[in-house]
């Protein structure tokens, strides 16, 4: 899937016979035209519209919309959520890939399937599972209320739901990568007397660093942008349990389009930044499996 690999198919284009016949260039330009038209309508127009709508009343109105305390609270909560969730899922990804790639054990493919599971579950169902556990009429609802602990309609619920949806991102990048790079260097390091942690930090981590970066940025993008799962557990309390995507919905439904698209523009910039980092990682030769 890496951008660099396409060059393989293009190199011999110039020398191919029949490249400049009228029919073949007609075919070529209609393929390019159809592709660009499709992408323009479906992808580029919506991307452009985010910024056009956010700036429709000028820069002052755009920046003014960020002075709303509910908006800043939403931005803070989104950053906090990512700050908690991404490191935990990164540690999990490293642990899972170490266990799966370095050792042979029974039930390995079942474990991998379970790790991938959150990708196949609808975001709404992901959020609902925690409501069924911790919500008022859920399995532990009465007990939690007795002890005055709130998870649903509170920040812990948002963190849990986000953790679920971003759970596989780092692990599924690292597992195939660690399997591919093999154990020879680690075994050599251990034989030469390096300790376990030294081997991990000095040998393994440098070997898989680009896969790690790749997984972490995708995990972060999803953590900051998740809507469905968080929407179910949040309760939409302004200033308290509203993340940026949820705040977009509230502003939009109030017809505060500048405010909604201003917050959306921040998330769009984050998405663009994610793609840039992803492309740079792919430039290093790292190839997604």
């Amino acid at each position: 899937m890496a951008a660099g690999t396409h060059a393989l198919g293009l190199e011999d284009l110039d020398t191919r016979p029949g490249r400049d016949t009228i029919v073949s260039s007609l075919v070529r330009w209609s393929f390019i035209g159809v592709s660009l038209a499709f992408l323009a309508a479906l992808l580029f127009a919506p991307l452009a519209t985010v910024f056009v709508m956010a700036l429709q009343h000028g820069l002052r109105a755009y920046f003014h919309s960020f002075s709303d305390p509910d908006t800043t609270a939403a931005i803070r909560l989104t950053l906090l959520t990512a700050l908690v969730v991404v490191p935990i899922n990164t540690v999990f990804g490293l642990a899972a890939s170490w266990a799966i790639a370095k050792f042979e054990f029974k039930g390995k493919s079942f474990l991998i399937t379970m790790i991938d599971l959150p990708l196949a579950v609808s975001p709404v169902i992901s959020g609902m599972m925690y409501v069924l556990l911790f919500g008022l009429h859920g399995w532990f609802g009465a007990w939690l209320q007795e002890h005055d602990i709130s998870i649903i309609f509170a920040v812990p619920g948002i963190m849990l739901a986000t953790m679920f949806v971003t759970f596989p991102y780092v692990a599924r990048e690292l597992i195939p990568l660690m399997q591919q790079v093999g154990n020879d260097e680690e075994e050599a390091a251990m034989t030469l007397g390096a300790g376990a942690w030294i081997t991990f930090f000095r040998v393994t981590l440098p070997k898989v660093r680009w896969g790690l970066v790749y997984g972490v940025i995708l995990c972060n993008a999803r953590a900051m942008g998740e809507f469905g799962a968080v929407s179910v557990v949040s309760g939409h309390i302004r200033g308290l349990t509203n993340t940026m995507p949820l705040h977009i919905e509230i502003l939009y439904n109030e017809y505060n389009f500048v405010g909604a698209f201003a917050v959306a523009s921040l998330l769009t910039l984050l998405a663009l930044l994610t793609l840039i980092v992803k492309t740079l990682v792919e430039r290093t030769g790292y190839r997604r499996r």
Partner: protein, 279 residues
């Protein structure tokens, strides 16, 4: 621990395996069990009453119908875009190649409001379609448009590597021997990319069925007409009807598993074919 694995000089199995299974259980398996148990606590007729209610059936029709249509659109345009990116050189090709992943990275709420404003009656594209008598926003057409956008990268990224596998010398040989373009497509290109096309289709479909964020803004959310199943689940939860929500979620989960199984089978089939071809 030691008995279930083969010996190795490397350390850390107990620690990493223990942490992995513990964290997996807490975050994924126990919540999943909560959903299954909640559904299992219902009586059969109660369960069927919920999942076969007219409103639920209406939501399945929209969710699965629009997802199927969107995945089909992606099958066709995903192939065209992948072909364009793999076979042709044109200004901005690398940029467009990178932007294909945008729907992955873009939060669904953002694509939802952005698509709605583009396809609304007064929007950039919606206003043109409106003069042609086509209403997109707040109809099932809008739902399909949103589901097409989020499924697009799956289709393109599945087909791209497969297209690189197509052996160009076979195409040239066929052409020299007088084969027409359609014959070359049907006998050389299609067999190589077929598993990838089907995988992309299934992945796009699976993603579309569960999608919520980008759809609810552009759908009218009218019961029986433009209400998707995930939205119906959210409505049931807001009514504190946990069992009703769990039952609908269970149905969707079962369908997702079937789809996931299909993907795995398709990928295994694709790998076998590639090995067979390269031999």
């Amino acid at each position: 621990m030691r008995s279930i694995r083969q010996p190795s000089v490397l350390p850390g199995f107990a620690l990493t395996f223990g942490f992995t299974t513990f964290f997996l259980s807490t975050i994924v398996l126990i919540p999943l069990a909560a959903l299954v148990l909640m559904t299992a606590s219902m009586h059969w007729h109660e369960f069927l009453h919920v999942v076969l209610s007219p409103r639920a059936l209406g939501s399945y029709r929209l969710s699965f119908g629009a997802s199927m249509l969107a995945a089909t659109i992606n099958l066709v345009f995903g192939f065209i875009i992948a072909w364009t990116l793999v076979r042709y050189e044109f200004p901005g090709r690398k940029l467009i190649d990178a932007l294909i992943d945008m729907p992955f990275a873009l939060p669904t709420a953002v694509s939802g409001i952005a698509l709605t404003s583009v396809f609304a009656e007064n929007g950039w594209i919606g206003s043109y379609l409106h003069t042609l008598g086509i209403k997109v926003a707040y109809t099932w057409v809008g739902v399909t448009v949103a589901l097409t956008l989020i499924g697009l990268p799956f289709a393109v990224r599945s087909v791209q590597p497969a297209l690189l596998e197509v052996q160009r010398d076979l195409e040239d040989a066929a052409e020299t021997l007088g084969a027409g373009w359609f014959y070359v497509f049907r006998r050389i290109i299609l067999p190589t990319v077929l598993p990838a096309l089907l995988t992309g289709f299934t992945l796009a479909f699976a993603r579309a069925v569960g999608e919520y964020g980008s759809v609810i803004f552009i759908a009218g959310n009218l019961p029986m007409k433009t209400e998707i199943t995930p939205l119906l689940i959210v409505i049931r939860l807001e009514e504190f009807d946990y069992k009703g929500a769990a039952a609908l979620g269970f149905v969707m989960l079962v369908i997702s598993f079937v789809v996931l199984l299909t993907i795995n089978l398709l990928q295994a089939w694709g790998r076998r074919r590639i090995v067979a071809v390269s031999r």
